[in-house]
């Protein structure tokens, strides 16, 4: 570490690497979750030394904890949780405490643009770098047209930046090839909500944790992914009238250890389990028939799929006890207030949307939606993923508009002052995996990647590296650091990050925070918004009336333009101004112009956004992803009723066999976020989880003569991983590895000699509806290797 990176924990927060969730503040059902002030300042900095505290929210998971950044002498020197914030009541998790500010201030930040000359990335001025980008962009637009351009963004930019990118892509260039790494983390959350309710929008809120009497975590290791939310659950579990906890996860996670029922299913079999739960709720008469009749469509088709799935049949497929399935169903069927959360164990596994929709179905069948404690949280992976979905930088149309609805397209065309024909709406937007396929085939030749690291986070990495390294593809990478992806770029743009720029972002429960600039970015680094606006200016994108397409000077202009775009849509921001966000710590949408309160829980009135003229999608067949289409959708007269959708179970596409007898699944460490670009630059977090490992069940380890610490090679049909073994309580037949460990801090050519990235092994495949890649099931074999330690 250099001087500027040296920080040591002080005060009560010191032990939070070991004491991940902090001390308990138990509370009873319906009580207010007690406050707990978490704060961390750099070594040698006392509270009275801090020049000022700057309002923000933590951007190292999707929870969205309100916080203040401590600034001294123009540097970020610490962080504290905001007591007045409804999301965290003062708390912060280890990633927020240690990495949010330390991850930004580091000696190896990018401080100048880089351009590739004679095969090497060399420093250049902004003018040189932008001129290269614009020259290539113009040439390809002339030669091929908009379909030559692709944009791959993040779940970590701000709303204003996504919206700028969306307008550039859709109204400036007019390409359907736009997506974000949100495709990897949150696409199925969006899809399952759209398929069931007609539009995106989280039904529940975190206060439902305070109120529920049963809590179901479907493929959600909340203890690692949203540590502050898990603190809230722990405080309920340790208080009076604790909720009954049911967990679906192949690993014995900290969450699973607290569960009353732990369903350790075989990876890839979620849908079979879910259909059995639906079966039990229907067969035992636990459904709220009046609610189902009045507010849903599709019960007969759901019943047809579910009736084949007795608990015994599901038990056989999933590898769990039928009695446990029955017990889980009984808890769901007989509790008064059930809260469900869903995350990557479902989203990144086989038949992701179909399985996640069954969670919605269970709640609809029991009429458990929109009431305190009775709700659904289809979670997000990243801090600003929600904004990517809202603004359409992931390819969707902004404001949850429907690309198949000509009136919605016309609204956007009016807003942007362009011909509706410019806005791509002839087919669904190109999803990330297809986008990279077009690059591979050479039909996308201009690829702009912002704030994400596909060279570590996409499946089948050897293929992704080859694609990014193709000489005929012009790759722009905009990031904080020289990531594995940036190293393969033609132009690298240094970006400002959290605390160095102003903007808003929205968490998994529709809660918007303003994150204000606290310090200047290092060197010549610029806010992503400024970079996008600069590109738009240089490309001279204009409205039909001749005015510039993006007449925005800064984030507040962009935000106001977004408010206008959101008007009248489910995610209506017109009643949430920057000033409001400076007064209230966290405001939920929708809040319309003139309103002073928000809607805490959607769908309390069971009036769902399925009106054909209003909905975000006409929906899909969950087995194939086939479009339903406007006619077939409208003919069902949904008009406010929700859809009970299902698909036949088909199982994982790469089941274990003799050559590759084990099931491989990937996941997360509590100490790291994504590809560790920030978290590994926190000395505390890096020390806590410095390198990759693989988890094996005792029986599988014993069968291979392996014990803790033995080095193994895990091999799939696509690549290999070398790592030490940890013998854990994972279900037998399953191998786990965390996906964070790429090569930016590894020795030269480690990806060949001693690969550590879990995605070397994963399969190129995706869910037919959400297009989310399948990271949670692949066939592998494990053998001992001798390598120097």
């Amino acid at each position: 570490m250099t001087d500027e990176g040296t920080t040591v924990t002080t005060g009560a927060a010191r032990g939070r690497v070991r004491d991940v969730w902090g001390h308990r503040t138990p509370f009873g059902r319906g009580d207010r979750w007690p406050d707990r002030a978490d704060q961390l300042l750099a070594e040698g900095i006392a509270e009275e030394d801090v020049d000022r505290w700057v309002r923000s929210a933590c951007a190292l998971c999707s929870n969205g904890c309100g916080c203040d950044i401590a600034v001294k002498d123009g540097r970020m020197v610490g962080i504290r949780g905001r007591i007045d914030d409804a999301i965290n009541h003062g708390r912060l998790g280890p990633k927020g405490l240690y990495a949010s500010w330390q991850g930004m201030e580091h000696h190896d930040r990018l401080t100048t643009p880089l351009v590739r000359r004679d095969g090497e990335l060399v420093p250049a001025s902004w003018d040189e770098a932008m001129a290269m980008i614009v020259e290539r962009s113009r040439a390809l637009l002339d030669e091929v047209g908009p379909l030559s351009h692709g944009f791959y963004t993040s779940g970590q930019l701000f709303l204003e930046e996504y919206y700028a990118l969306a307008v550039i892509g859709k109204a400036g260039i007019g390409t359907p090839h736009m997506d974000g790494n949100t495709r990897l983390c949150t696409a199925t959350a969006a899809s399952s909500l759209k398929e069931t309710f007609g539009a995106d929008g989280q039904p529940g809120c975190y206060e439902d944790i305070d109120e529920c009497d049963a809590l179901f975590l479907f493929g959600h290791n909340m203890a690692a992914t949203q540590t502050v939310l898990w603190s809230r659950v722990l405080d309920r579990l340790d208080g009076p009238e604790p909720p009954v906890l049911v967990v679906v996860d192949p690993r014995e996670t900290p969450v699973a250890k607290r569960a009353v029922v732990h369903l350790a299913v075989n990876p890839g079999t979620n849908l079979a389990l879910m259909l059995a739960l639906v079966h039990e709720v229907l067969a035992n008469g636990w459904a709220d028939d009046a609610y189902v009749t009045a507010h849903t469509l599709g019960l007969d088709a759901l019943r047809r799929e579910a009736e084949q799935w007795s608990p015994e049949r599901a038990a056989e497929v999933c590898g769990v006890a039928a009695s446990d399935i029955r017990e889980a169903a009984r808890i769901f069927g007989t509790s008064e207030r059930v809260l469900s959360t869903v995350l990557q164990g479902f989203y990144q596994s086989s038949q992701a949307t179909a399985a996640s929709c069954q969670v919605n179905n269970l709640h609809l069948l029991r009429g458990m939606i929109g009431r305190p404690g009775a709700g659904i949280l289809q979670m997000n992976g990243q801090p600003t993923a929600q904004n990517n979905r809202e603004t359409g930088a992931d390819g969707d149309l902004p404001g949850f508009r429907n690309w198949e609805n000509p009136d919605h397209v016309a609204e956007l065309a009016r807003l942007w002052g362009v011909d509706p024909l410019v806005i791509p709406h002839w087919a669904p937007p190109t999803h990330a995996m297809q986008l990279f396929r077009y690059v591979e085939q050479g039909s996308i030749r201009f690829l702009w990647i912002s704030a994400t690291n596909p060279a570590v986070s996409l499946p089948q990495l050897s293929r992704i590296r080859d694609i990014l390294a193709k000489p005929e593809t012009f790759v722009v990478v905009q990031d904080l650091f020289l990531t594995e992806t940036a190293e393969l770029a033609d132009v690298v743009l240094p970006a400002a990050g959290w605390g160095e720029k102003t903007g808003t972002f929205t968490n998994a429960t529709r809660t918007v925070h303003l994150s204000e600039q606290a310090v200047e970015p290092p060197g010549e680094a610029r806010a992503d918004l400024d970079i996008f606006l600069d590109y738009a200016r240089r490309m001279d994108f204009r409205r039909d009336d001749g005015r510039p397409l993006l007449e925005w000077a800064g984030p507040d202009d962009a935000y106001r333009a977004w408010q206008e775009c959101s008007r009248g849509r489910p995610c209506d921001y017109t009643g949430i101004s920057y000033d409001d966000l400076r007064r209230e710590s966290g405001i939920q949408w929708p809040r319309r112009e003139g309103e002073t309160t928000s809607i805490r829980r959607l769908y309390a009135d069971a009036d769902f956004p399925t009106y054909p003229e209003y909905c975000e999608t006409y929906g899909h067949d969950l087995a194939t992803g086939a479009d339903v289409g406007e006619q077939a959708f409208s003919a069902q007269r949904p008009d406010g009723r929700a859809f009970l959708k299902a698909a036949a179970y088909s199982g994982p596409h790469e089941p274990p066999d003799d050559g590759y007898p084990l099931r491989f699944t990937t996941g997360r460490s509590v100490y790291h976020f994504h590809t560790r670009t920030k978290t590994a630059r926190s000395p505390e977090l890096d020390a806590a989880a410095p390198s990759v490992w693989v988890e094996l069940a005792e029986a599988d380890a014993a069968a291979r003569g392996l014990g803790d610490g033995d080095m193994v090679e895990v091999r799939s049909r696509r690549g290999r991983l070398v790592a030490p073994v940890r013998v854990t309580g994972i279900r037998p037949g399953t191998v786990f590895a965390p996906f964070h460990y790429g090569y930016w801090d590894a020795p030269e050519s480690a990806e060949q000699r001693r690969p550590t990235a879990a995605n070397e092994l994963t399969i190129t495949e995706w869910d037919p509806v959400s297009k989310q890649p399948v990271f949670k099931t692949a066939a592998v074999r494990v053998t001992r290797v001798e390598v120097e330690r």
Binding site: V144, G145, L147, S148, P176, W426, A427, P428, T430, M433, Q434, R437, Y438, Q441, G442, S443, I444, D621, A623, T624, G625, A626, D627, V628, G629, S650, H653, I763, T764, E765, W766, P768
Partner: protein, 153 residues
């Protein structure tokens, strides 16, 4: 009674469709969605044909030369490669699926006139499946067409 002619025609077209899905899956393995879905859809065709066999057992199969086949549904032949090849292969499969679809429709008409509840059940399930198959093929082709026709090399 000529229903056996149509039942055999139907069994033959489902066989051709299944074979063609498998050929496309094989030829376009680098498009994983096409690959895996075509294999799944081929299995659906097999299942329909198996259930149809029980109906043929009741009504009998068509004599070999009963109705001269003029429009042959011979399947894909040699599958193509590349983005344009994918589009054309999917479009050919779409035609084969449409042929099977309309053949089921005619069998349904006969089943109604015969008051054959068992056959009507089979037709209802099959029509639902094929309708989704046709929609998927359309969705996938619509997605692929602009890139294949304008930007692909």
């Amino acid at each position: 009674m000529k229903l056996p002619v149509y039942l055999s025609l139907l069994a033959g077209s489902e066989q051709t469709l299944a074979d063609s899905y498998r050929q496309v899956a094989e030829a376009h393995g680098d498009e994983p969605d096409v690959h895996f879905l075509c294999l799944t859809l081929a299995t659906q065709c097999d299942a329909r044909r198996e259930r149809l066999a029980a109906v043929i057992a009741r009504y009998g199969a068509a004599p070999a030369d009963d109705e001269p086949e003029r429009l042959h549904t011979q399947g894909l032949g040699e599958p193509r490669t590349g983005p344009l090849g994918l589009l054309r292969d999917l479009q050919d499969v779409y035609l084969l699926a449409s042929f099977a679809d309309v053949t089921w429709m005619m069998v349904k008409q006969a089943a109604q006139a015969l008051r054959d509840v068992e056959l009507l059940d089979l037709v209802a399930d099959s029509e639902r499946d094929i309708e989704v198959q046709l929609r998927w093929l359309q969705s996938r082709m619509k997605q692929a067409a602009p890139q294949a026709l304008i930007a692909a090399r």
